[in-house]
Amino acid sequence: MKKDILKEAEYWYNFDRDIFYNRKAKKAFSLEYVDDKPEEELVRRIGESTDSARWTFYFNSPPSESVKQILEQVLG
């Protein structure tokens, strides 16, 4: 199950923003993305390497720069 995959990879759920996030990996998945994508893609995205200086957001519709900044502020 997707929830177990995220839990296993130490992702937390932000109830206010409906996103799964991992501060160490600096990755965040929207609830819509998790719902819509197959488990294989989720596993691939969790494992892929990213620019660790900034957060990477996995959304169905890519968030604007302003939305990214807001979420980065919220996620810390």
């Binding site: 199950m1 929830k3 759920y13 109830f15 206010d16 923003r17 409906d18 996103i19 965040a28 929207s30 609830l31 819509e32 993305y33 719902d35 957001f57 959304f59 169905n60 519709s61 968030p63 604007s64 720069e65 302003s66 939305v67 900044q69 807001i70 979420l71 502020q73 919220v74």
Partner: protein, 214 residues
């Protein structure tokens, strides 16, 4: 209250301002809609048997609830300050809402038919369960006599489900994630199924009782 950042605050403040500008119009829509629905369902109300019920309830969506509903529709539940055209509460179809609760379920079609002609041009968007079965017919549109901006919405709901929703909504509104989890979907399906069985039981009992004593 959701945590809001400085960038979102101006958007939220604008939406609150819009809400209070619209409030007199929302009130007029809900009064009109409730009055028309009460009038059109009056013959059904007067013909109810002792155990049957029909209750018409209206509500105006509260300011914070309206803002949060609009916010819930954004992925990541975040208002985008760069969105062209900004946001408007007029995108919500349910600022003025009427719920008609019926018991037992067989009254639902009767009420739906009684309202059909009056609200012919309204958009149908029934409430469905997780298996896409219709739980409650729902419609939204304009009461043109009173507003061309604010839409009204009415839904006809089996009473037991409607009362369950009152409790469920209060408990689950903070988290769509929890509400949509596999576990909660199963519990919800169990409740719907139990309520449906109860209604069937009542209807069967009523039928047998009527046949025995008629």
């Amino acid at each position: 209250m959701p945590e809001r950042t400085n960038k979102e605050r101006p958007i939220v403040n604008r939406l609150r301002e819009e809400y209070f500008d619209l409030l007199p119009e929302i009130r007029r829509v809900v009064w009109q809609l409730e009055t028309e629905i009460r009038y059109l369902t009056l013959p059904i109300l007067h013909s109810l048997k002792r155990h049957e019920q029909l209750v018409v309830k209206s509500r105006i969506k509260e300011c914070e609830s309206a803002v949060n509903t609009l916010r819930d529709q954004q992925e990541g539940r975040t208002f985008d300050p760069d969105k062209p055209g900004g946001y408007s509460l007029l995108d919500l179809p349910d600022l003025a809402g009427v719920r008609i609760l019926v018991f037992p379920n067989n009254k639902l079609v009767e009420v739906d038919n009684a309202l059909h002609n009056r609200f012919l041009g309204w958009t149908s968007k029934p409430v469905k369960d997780d298996k896409e079965a219709v739980l409650a017919p729902k419609y939204y549109g304009y009461c043109e006599d009173v507003s061309s901006k604010v839409r009204g919405e009415y839904q006809i709901v089996p009473m037991l489900i409607g009362l369950f929703w009152d409790v469920e909504h209060s408990a689950m509104y903070k988290s769509r994630g929890a509400a949509n989890s596999v576990e909660m979907k199963k519990y919800r399906a169990d409740v719907y199924s139990a309520l449906a069985r109860f209604e069937e039981g009542i209807e069967n009992f009523e039928r047998i009782y009527t046949e025995l004593f008629s």
